[in-house]
Symmetry: C2
Subunit: 365 residues, 2 copies
């Protein structure tokens, strides 16, 4: 009962709503690959459960899981959470799930981008990724949501942020990477974003978060919080390699206007103290040829901007960094006075290469 639609969302009057608009629910995928998640995935699963349960207090959550782990997920999660079988290569629903678009009558459709594990054979993070690439279709089919399917255009949901009113923010580091759509130039890519997200203006940051293995997804450095309002990952330490990335983004965004001609209000979210992989953590991951290794001492791309906006709440990663954790929660409460700010200790998620925004995908109401 889900049809594959020809044409583009823009031509049909569909646009991607802002994450802060009302949700039907949230989709996630259960983590299990032992060459990315330490100790057979058990610590990560615990963290994913905490995220899912936190979100489920505010909106319905569906957890997709392989048959192999189905009973584990089912028994680990409360009955509030729907569990459905879905094969996967890893657990990044933001990047492999559908991007939902909506029209003025409140009708929802999906966009099924091509997924290549953040870089395919050039600098992708694992091989193969065929199961991941089918997740968006399967979600749409299960929900009887019609969808657009792009055979040739590679994009991950974490590489875009929209205000729902015509503006999209991306990074050049990711979208212009030769490992995504090397045959398209910036203008051609911008046209695709306009057509498939229903936006009029694309803002191009240079970079994302230092050492972010996704080629610096935009959702780790900024978050659209409301039309005209963004949260930006920041550091005051001019010697931190993140400083020029965040400074450049700040300068660019203050100099630009959005699709409606508004100046942006920018809230700074200071990054946590360095998160480095410990020896014990590194040793818990199966070393496998073809999958990005997790080496002792590697700096993780930790950022508070990688939060999830649920109906009535914001679910934000915490790093047991007393000062910056508190600052992040305070700033978010200022940005979202009417939402509860829920912190989840997320070290086990960032060890796998992403955070709360990366492992969730909202379905608009």
């Amino acid at each position: 009962m889900a049809k594959k639609i020809e044409g583009t969302p823009k031509a049909h009057g569909f646009r991607m709503p802002g994450e802060f608009e009302p949700h039907q629910g949230c989709w996630m995928i259960w983590p299990e690959r032992t060459d990315n998640w330490r100790l057979g995935g058990k610590p990560a699963q615990k963290a994913f459960v905490e995220v899912a349960e936190a979100i489920a207090k505010y909106e319905p959550v569906t957890m997709c899981v392989s048959h192999r782990q189905y009973m584990v997920a089912r028994e680990s999660l409360s009955e509030n959470i729907r569990v459905v079988e879905m094969s996967n290569d890893d657990s990044w629903m933001r990047d492999v799930g559908p991007t939902f678009v909506k029209n003025n009558e409140g009708k929802i459709r999906g966009v099924d981008w091509r997924f290549n594990a953040w870089g395919g054979l050039l600098d992708g993070l694992y091989f193969p990724w065929d199961k991941d690439d089918m997740v968006a279709k399967k979600v749409c089919d299960m929900e009887s949501v019609d969808y657009y399917s792009l055979e040739d255009f590679v994009l991950e949901g974490g590489s875009i942020h929209v205000d729902g009113e015509g503006t999209c923010i991306v990074t050049k580091a990711c979208l212009l990477s030769p490992s995504r759509n090397p045959d398209l130039d910036q203008e051609a890519i911008e046209d695709m974003l306009k057509d498939y997200l229903g936006v009029e203006k694309v803002l191009w940051l240079e970079n994302g978060i230092y050492l972010d293995e996704t080629n610096e997804h935009v959702d780790n450095i900024i978050h659209y919080c409301a039309p005209g309002v963004v949260a930006l990952a920041w550091t005051d330490d001019e010697n931190d390699p993140q400083y020029p990335y965040s400074k450049s983004a700040y300068d660019y965004l203050t100099s630009e206007t959005d699709a409606k001609g508004r100046k942006l209000k920018i809230y700074k979210l200071h990054i946590p103290n360095e998160v480095l992989i410990t020896k014990e953590e590194s040793e818990g991951v199966d070393a496998v040829n073809g999958t990005l290794p997790r080496n002792e001492g590697d700096r993780q791309a930790a950022s508070y901007a990688n939060f999830y906006i649920a109906n009535g709440a914001v679910i934000v990663p915490m790093f047991k960094d007393e000062v910056h954790d508190a600052m992040a929660k305070e700033t978010l409460q200022e940005i979202f006075p009417d939402r509860e700010i829920v912190g989840i200790y997320a070290r086990e998620i960032i060890l796998g290469g992403g955070n709360i925004h990366c492992i969730t995908q909202q379905q608009p109401k």
Copy 2:
């Protein structure tokens, strides 16, 4: 959002509706095991598609399919049919799916019986069957339907037929088989049926269809068509080994009354001419240790009683047996004057050990 419920449907005011009551939709599973379905399952898949498309004209159909065959199923079926991933050991949704029960307020719950591949290690048809045994739970969870889960009681949906008004018909050959619930006697099994189907009276036929490998499921020999009305597989040939089975069932049913004290009206559906496996058909099946072989010359348990009642239609197996096919359609039209009678050539399904009723499971409205 699906809760596992303690207690029994009967205690909670739930009963299994008759198949002729209105449906929400129909569930099926895509066939693929090459040690049961010839030629890699391709001819059977074609027949399953015909059944699914026929039903989908009258009510929504969901096809469950393994990841491996997902794209094959998706591309083979029209967009009217929802396709969802679900691991399985074979494709008998009647037997592995939930039995849905309903209360007076129209609320639906599932019953998740224990499944052991029609006989477990004693005379089961394949090993293992763990994926099949999880299908009922997964369907309920996907649909957010609360369910009763029986850890210790083995039953298949094809071994029961109800009138929705207190009566259930079963066969002793199946339900009293030592390969199902050997520690329970007839009375104890009857109590379970009463508790979990919400019935007051159980009618016990001795046998089902000759050589039926399910230990003679009731759904191959009779079909409840309405309260007080059953269709019975029949033969006039007294030398046919089916004759004593059908005669005994006929004599028993004419001598009995249902839970409401009514005599039953019995319509005879003459079985088709013998369906024997050809050499070519046998050779198309992978011979595998532990799976029931499909030998040349084996008589199949072909019966017109194995039909599916959809909203507004009856989908009935045809065997390219001009005389009996026509007789079956005529009789069914007489029983169901307001439903369209749709015949589907079902040789490829019976070759796998069952028929249209066996591969479908209705979800009541």
